[in-house]
């Protein structure tokens, strides 16, 4: 097992190399400054944006929307998934529709939402919700379906039923699959957030909006900063939040091989 310290360096090394090469290319005038501003300018601009609080405002409104949409998707997704898993008729009815709806690109909902729900926050939050909902519902349903019937019967014989059966038996037993759904879901929701912010005209703040607005001044610097932040935040949401959840639950319980 490597120490934390050296793995951080190993992770950052490629970025530093790319940044150095990039800086060199621009300084040697191989590409125009306005087409590709060098990392040094990027960092100073990042600093100004942070100090002025602009960046925080953008990032804050994005995370706020993401939280509302995603929490709704998790709550309803798990509930509906569990319902579908427990009723055979419902499952036969809705499973094909559901697997079809998952394959619809989330961005495709946005024009429909813009027409029906207006050009503001509601559209973005609904897109985030839809992005996460189907993946979470589907994986919850599959997970609960695949719970070992022996385990279920054992719990029933010992008099566990109803809500307790769900919370204490079904949920832990299907958590591996549910977490897969949560991870897929946060990815879809994140994309829906960025796309939704860019396309909704009345949204003023948000990290996607920042990138989109930079277009009107051809401000490549702000676009690059936005992209970097979008990439790192997406990465952090998955690695830190959901990886942590996985480690604290299923890996600890020994349901998943440690990697």
């Amino acid at each position: 097992m490597k120490s934390n310290h050296s793995s951080v360096i190993e992770f950052l090394f490629p970025f530093l190399t790319v940044a150095a090469l990039w800086e060199l290319t621009v300084r040697l005038h191989l590409v125009g400054m306005e087409m590709l501003p060098p990392p040094s300018l990027l960092i100073s601009k990042l600093w100004t944006l942070t100090v002025r609080g602009v960046l925080l405002h953008h990032l804050g409104s994005s995370l706020y929307r993401l939280t509302i949409g995603y929490v709704l998707a998790v709550g309803l997704g798990i509930a509906v998934g569990a319902l579908l898993a427990s009723r055979r008729t419902l499952r036969e009815m809705f499973a094909p529709v559901l697997s079809m709806l998952i394959s619809v690109p989330t961005i495709a909902w946005v024009p429909v939402l813009l027409i029906t729900m207006g050009l503001g926050d509601r559209t973005v939050v609904t897109a985030i919700f839809l992005g996460g909902f189907f993946a979470i519902t589907y994986n919850t349903m599959r997970g609960i379906e695949m719970v070992n019937p022996g385990q279920l019967n054992a719990a029933r014989i010992m008099g566990v039923g109803g809500w307790r059966l769900f919370v204490e038996v079904l949920l832990p037993a299907s958590l591996v699959s549910i977490i897969t759904g949560l991870r897929l879901g946060i990815g879809y929701s994140w994309r829906a957030l960025v796309g939704g912010e860019m396309l909704s005209a009345l949204v003023e703040w948000g990290i996607g909006k920042m990138v989109y607005q930079a277009r009107f001044w051809n401000d490549v610097l702000v676009m690059l900063i936005g992209l970097l932040i979008i990439g790192f935040s997406g990465f952090l949401l998955d690695r830190v939040l959901l990886k942590w959840l996985e480690q604290e639950t299923v890996e600890k319980w020994g349901m998943l091989a440690k990697r």
């Binding site: 619809v104 027409i115 790192f232």
Partner: protein, 273 residues
């Protein structure tokens, strides 16, 4: 005993209840048609399914003797998809294979890929518009990038996961480098590459539609939908979205499943479900 009984019951049920999945769709469409017809929901925002279908037919037949409006939009998008997917898949597989062979390269590219992969294509669109302008170059470039990542990632995983016993056995039986690559590495990694192609194609399609929303100059399914949304032509929007779902469904079922059947299934790497 119990399992046996269960199986029989489930067979019985699926046999007689094949229409169940159609029920929610039919109820949904009928309800929509009815509510929209009697103005309980605003028909300007939710035009009844029949008028959406009618609009699609109109779009198809407008300009027909020479070239159909709808078909031109669809073909523009499909052309971009083919070029972008080809570039993305080939370059992704190549880079992935190199990453699989060289540990050094893997360690260098892996962090870059993990950070760049979650950036949605549409977010890169403003940047690429500055670099390449509106239209095909931007759309195709972003489509290729979208397809590239899953391919590189999955191919690398596939090559890295190869059973070294197999490689040694093949070497011992006198396989040279070319044979090793074609007869051992390729079939082993093919399953992974196919998963990559599936994911990559989906990402590519999604990105092309999304980028067409903001970067297309005049044609494309995404452009058609976006243009209609700006003028509040709800029927065109719904029709276009229905079409893009249907087209992708055909691509996935037709193309990818055929590809699977002729490669990994024939080589016995996966079994048909």
């Amino acid at each position: 005993m119990e399992v046996f009984w269960r199986k029989r019951r489930s067979n019985n049920r699926t046999g007689s209840r094949w229409w169940l999945p159609l029920l929610p769709v039919v109820v949904f469409l009928a309800g929509w048609q009815l509510l929209s017809g009697v103005n309980l929901i605003n028909p300007a925002l939710f035009p009844p399914p029949t008028s959406i279908a009618g609009e699609l037919v109109d779009l198809y037949s407008s300009g027909l003797p020479t070239r159909s409006l709808l078909l031109t939009h669809v073909m523009a998008t499909l052309r971009r998809l083919i070029v972008a997917a080809a570039v993305g898949i080939l370059s992704g597989t190549l880079v992935g294979a190199l990453m699989g062979i060289s540990r050094r390269l893997y360690r260098f590219l892996d962090p870059l890929i993990t950070v760049l992969m979650p950036v949605p294509g549409i977010a890169m669109a403003p940047l690429f518009i500055v670099w390449l302008g509106f239209g095909d170059p931007t759309i195709i470039a972003l489509g290729s990038i979208a397809a590239f990542f899953p391919l590189a990632y999955n191919t690398a995983a596939g090559v890295r996961s190869i059973d070294l016993q197999l490689v040694r056995a093949a070497r011992m039986m006198g396989a040279d480098k070319g044979t090793l690559l074609l007869d051992v590495y390729l079939p082993w990694a093919a399953g992974y590459v196919l998963v990559g192609i599936k994911l990559g194609l989906a990402r590519c399609w999604r990105t092309i539609i999304a980028v067409e929303f903001i970067a297309a100059a005049s044609w494309g399914l995404g452009y058609m939908i976006w243009d209609a949304a700006e003028y509040l032509r709800a029927d065109v929007v719904y029709g276009g979205i229905f079409l893009l779902i249907a087209i992708y469904f055909v691509i996935e079922k037709g193309l990818i499943n055929t590809l699977e059947k002729h490669t990994v299934e024939r080589w016995g790497m996966v079994r048909r479900q």
